[in-house]
């Protein structure tokens, strides 16, 4: 018995020994990954001139940078705006795209498959190409500076539809039949059966959609630049980084405020995110 146990132990320590190169490689990679972020955090605590000289330890300037940032830009409002846009976009995007993914996969026929192929083409349209016509449309509909201008082009994206379509393959068709026999309508099946089962797909899609919305910069600059109160976080950072002179401490404090929310969201949804992606690559 004891003999057996020690055998397992040596075995596992042998395995760990063999994994040493793996640990070394992963550690190096993680340093590479995390270092710029670490630097961003320390920079937010240093004065502009120290940052320019490449200081990498924590300083005492954080409060000052934060105060300057608050005085210079409407930080809380932009943060609020960013949350508003990102949440609305994520909710609508998830709803519209999951509905479509569900429809494409579980009710599929040759026409729908062909249509899906056509929709995929939209993934390859460069953003710069459609920006001008899109602006005309949004402006014509009098939606400039509204949350709609921000989210409309990103509610329905081929990538998200594809993700839900792929994941829907794992959804058991028998359940649908059973539910139909129970007299549930097609829409009820979606809400009562599909939604709960696909939780992790929704989580993965939410992370991606939220990050895209949060980091969106070029498009809001085009449709929302006529109203400072509509500004989101990347626009705020751009404001800080332009001008004849730049205060880097203040800027990095802004960058920190812009980066932390997406990181937190990822931390929270990490597990579901991984599961959701797993379903989509099956």
């Amino acid at each position: 018995m004891t003999n057996n146990l020690s055998k397992v132990k040596t075995n596992s320590s042998a395995i760990q020994k063999r994994l040493i190169p793996t640990y070394i490689f992963l550690t190096i990679w993680c340093i590479f990954s995390v270092f710029p972020l670490y630097w961003m955090i320390t920079a937010a605590t240093n004065a502009s001139i120290e940052i320019a000289k490449g200081k990498i330890v924590f300083g005492t300037y954080a409060a000052e940078n934060f105060k300057n940032l608050l005085a210079a830009e409407p930080l809380w409002r932009s943060l609020g705006n960013s949350f508003k846009y990102s949440i609305v976009q994520t909710v609508l995007c998830l709803f519209v795209c999951s509905l479509a993914g569900y429809g494409f996969e579980l009710y599929h026929d040759s026409v729908k498959d062909k249509l899906f192929g056509i929709l995929l083409l939209a993934m390859m349209v460069p953003q710069v190409a459609t920006m001008i016509p899109l602006f005309r449309m949004v402006s014509g509909a009098h939606l400039l500076n509204t949350v709609w201008a921000f989210i409309l082009p990103s509610i329905s994206t081929p990538f998200m539809i594809m993700m839900f379509r792929q994941n829907s393959r794992n959804f058991p068709v028998d359940i649908m039949e059973a539910a139909r026999l129970d007299g549930l309508s097609e829409l009820e099946i979606f809400f009562r059966m599909y939604l709960p089962v696909m939780k992790s797909t929704y989580a993965a899609a939410a992370v991606i959609s939220f990050m895209n919305a949060w980091n969106s910069y070029m498009w809001p600059k085009v449709v929302m630049n006529t109203d400072t109160s509509a500004m989101n976080m990347p626009m705020l950072i751009a404001n800080l980084s332009e001008g004849y002179t730049v205060d880097y401490g203040q800027l990095m404090m802004g960058v920190l405020f812009c980066s932390v929310p997406t990181m937190i969201i990822f931390f929270i949804l990490q597990k579901q995110f991984a599961e959701g992606i797993t379903g989509s690559v099956k």
Binding site: L19, S33, L37, V125, I132, T262
Partner: protein, 300 residues
């Protein structure tokens, strides 16, 4: 008779429901992607002030003009360099990381995975700023290298053509490797563990398992990430715009950045020409994605 009628009506109902489900998304893509694309195509046949566009003569003048545009050709060269160097390195690293992280005996897996993924949670605007500061002539990387005695003097990374390209490639690898890793990791988790055990019994080493089992089984994911990366790289914009400004001497400018310069960047407002350029980019992406799909399928 009656039942079949009822049956078909139920089926028809289901059929209708399917269309109902996918209609909102489909309409939105048509209205917000394809219609603007059509508009962009019409604009690409015109020239002049954005407020009063005129048809070009001959109609495809904007497209034929491109061939003489040395700067556009240069931007194609730069973009393809990023594509050919950065995408393979990034994807290989991503598969490698995924493979390492998929080991059940590995401790701290969750922490490693989180740290590898973390860079893609930073916004494009932020990360360009971070890399710019890190690689500045007086910046951190320089002071480290000088202190270690690797460099004699501070090196102007962003002011030298080859190193500016290198910085962009490093930045891209930093930002996107973790993202692709997640897809591979997910793909690997779908592979039954027993497949590996069988291979082990057959005496295959790690290298052989990797090429013999992992890569073929991951092929659909690899094709997908390739298409995403090609698409992303050919539309590369933020890095060129914010990190290097396309310089020095246009040595890092990308196609999208050049298109932007022609429409918004330098007060030129040449919407016709820039729309034509974006159409060319669209065709390039579509062709490459198509080839990729074909190659990915063939080995099946």
């Amino acid at each position: 008779m009656n039942t079949t009628k009822k049956g078909t009506s139920v089926l028809a109902k289901q059929h209708r429901a399917g269309w109902f489900f996918l209609l909102p998304a489909t309409i939105m893509i048509f209205v917000l992607n394809f219609y603007p694309m059509l508009q962009a195509f019409i604009i690409s046949l015109k020239k002049g002030s954005p407020a009063a566009l005129q048809w070009t003569t001959p109609v495809f003048n904007n497209y034929t003009r491109m061939l003489q545009d040395k700067l556009f050709i240069r931007s194609i060269g730069n973009t393809f360099l990023y594509l050919l160097v950065q995408v393979p390195i990034m994807l290989i690293l991503a598969i490698l990381l995924a493979q390492l992280l998929n080991n059940k005996d590995l401790k701290f897996r969750g922490i490693f995975r989180t740290m590898v993924f973390l860079p893609c949670a930073t916004s494009l605007v932020s990360y360009a700023l971070i890399f710019k500061s890190l690689f500045a002539t007086q910046g951190l990387i320089n002071s480290v290298f000088v202190n270690l005695g690797i460099f004699k003097d501070n090196f102007n990374f962003l002011g030298t053509p080859w190193s500016a390209k290198m910085v962009i490639i490093i930045a891209l690898i930093w930002r996107w490797t973790g993202y692709n890793m997640v897809f591979y990791l997910a793909g690997l988790q779908n592979i039954e563990y027993s497949v590996y055990e069988a291979a082990k019994i057959d005496g295959a080493n790690g290298w052989e398992t990797f090429w013999g089992i992992t890569v073929p089984l991951l092929r659909p994911v690899i094709v997908m990430t390739f298409i995403m990366s090609i698409n992303g790289t050919l539309q590369l914009f933020d890095e060129s715009m914010n990190l290097t400004g396309g310089g020095p001497a246009n040595s890092t400018i990308t196609m999208s950045h050049y298109i932007y310069n022609n429409s918004f960047g330098q007060g030129v407002g040449n919407f016709g020409y820039s729309s034509a350029l974006s159409f060319v980019v669209f065709i390039m992406v579509a062709v490459l994605a198509f080839i990729n799909l074909k190659v990915g399928d063939k080995r099946d």
